[in-house]
């Protein structure tokens, strides 16, 4: 049959109006012995399978004529827009997402403005997160805002509750299901030293790379801990 030799036609494509495709009117003076058949479309044997496809409008035979009208074009646009939107939502929720960072709490790792961070959502809820990972999380106190800090202690670890060389040097054990996050710029960061251990359920993902300028490749973020350095940024 001629229709089987072509690839499946896109049901949304526009075809020019062809009068011959229209349903032929029954001829009144048809001889009883020879039944009239439509001249162009062949009639395949309507098995149950084909009847189901036709009922679900998944008819693999030639599509109906679609004119290039505004409403049809709008319908196409909405169809592809919705499809892209749903696919993008599923991807950014469970795969990777890009977010813009601002603030001085993660200097020098992340710039104070203009850096785009690639966040891997496969690490959400703290799955496979270790000490030294830079994670993004929903803020425990400022509901609705997202923050990026580095994990310095996971559940069960003992961490220093306050800044080194300040306070009494109290050590704290991070409770079950929580982590201790600290910003890289200790002086200007609001983190677990202020609001306590962070529940891992608030962690949305791990920052794997940052993209600082559009003319440069994204660079992987340094994971893991290293000794603190005192960087004196004051101009003498």
């Amino acid at each position: 049959m001629p229709t089987n030799s072509k690839p499946p036609p896109n049901p949304r494509r526009f075809v020019p109006t062809d009068k011959s495709q229209a349903k032929p009117a029954p001829t009144p003076a048809s001889p009883p012995t020879t039944p009239t058949t439509p001249p162009t479309t062949p009639t395949p044997r309507l098995t149950l399978y084909r009847k189901t496809l036709r009922y679900l409008h998944l008819n693999p035979t030639a599509p109906a004529a679609r004119h290039r009208t505004f409403s049809n074009l709008l319908g196409d646009f909405l169809y592809y827009f919705l499809a892209a939107g749903l696919a993008l939502h599923v991807f950014t929720k469970n795969g990777y997402t890009l977010g813009q960072a601002y603030g001085i709490s993660m200097l020098p790792t992340i710039a104070s403005f203009g850096d785009w961070l690639l966040i891997s959502k496969t690490y959400r809820h703290g799955r496979n997160c270790h000490v030294g990972d830079v994670v993004s999380f929903r803020h425990p106190v400022n509901t609705g805002s997202y923050n990026v800090k580095r994990i310095v202690g996971m559940s069960g670890d003992f961490v220093l509750a306050y800044t080194p060389e300040e306070g009494e040097g109290t050590m704290v054990q991070v409770p079950e299901g929580h982590c201790w996050v600290v910003g890289d710029d200790l002086k200007w960061s609001q983190d677990s030293r202020m609001y306590g251990p962070l529940p891992l359920a608030l962690v949305t993902g791990k920052v794997v790379a940052k993209w600082s300028s559009w003319w440069r490749w994204p660079e992987a973020l340094e994971q893991g801990l290293r000794d603190a350095v005192i960087e004196d940024g004051d101009v003498d």
């Binding site: 496809l53 939502h89 599923v90 809820h125 803020h139 704290v172 299901g177």
Partner: protein, 223 residues
Amino acid sequence: MLSTLRRSRRTLWHIALPSLWVTASAISLNDNLVEITSVTGDSMSPTLSPDQDTTGRSDYIAWNKWDASGHVQRGDIVFFGLPNRPEDTGVKRVIGVEGDVVVLDARRRPKSGNGNANGNTNPTAGSHDVPESKSWDAWSGRAKVPEGHVWVEGDNWRKSKDSNWYGPISRSLILGKAMAVVLPTEKFGAKPWEGFASGTTVVRERVDTRTDLEVLEAMGTAT
């Protein structure tokens, strides 16, 4: 044989594409608008899942996920990520919001076997070595709910692991607010949690509406 191959590829496309549409729409709807989950456990009996121990049937609830951690009120049933088990979720009622002082109910104190949030079973030891709970001590009698947090409790005071155990939870943990019961079908559309009088006393935050001048006058200024 080639026509069979073409026909099966066409059929796959005609089935795969609608399936992708349905899956992606269901995931997006679930994440942003409405999710339906079952309520297991006894902590909300008899409000929710009252027959679970006898018949094994649990109630299914439709959660409103649109801006769930937005305006949360006392008495709402909320669905949140557990602070002690990040992969699991819990269902409890909001008793106090930020600024409230909750008078800890003596019946709901964690039993000595469970211990406090740090696992410390000594009832005289406070949790003062964990900075987050320095404002909440399981045996101090009162707990002030800090900014951005809520106090949740299960309706079944005999068997509920809630804020009396892990302290006030961050409002950002809340994923959904209860809309209505979906299953069993006899209770479809019902909201059995309304009109519940919790036994826990909550001292609501008193908003001081006096102006600075009035405060100074009340104190008695020098001149």
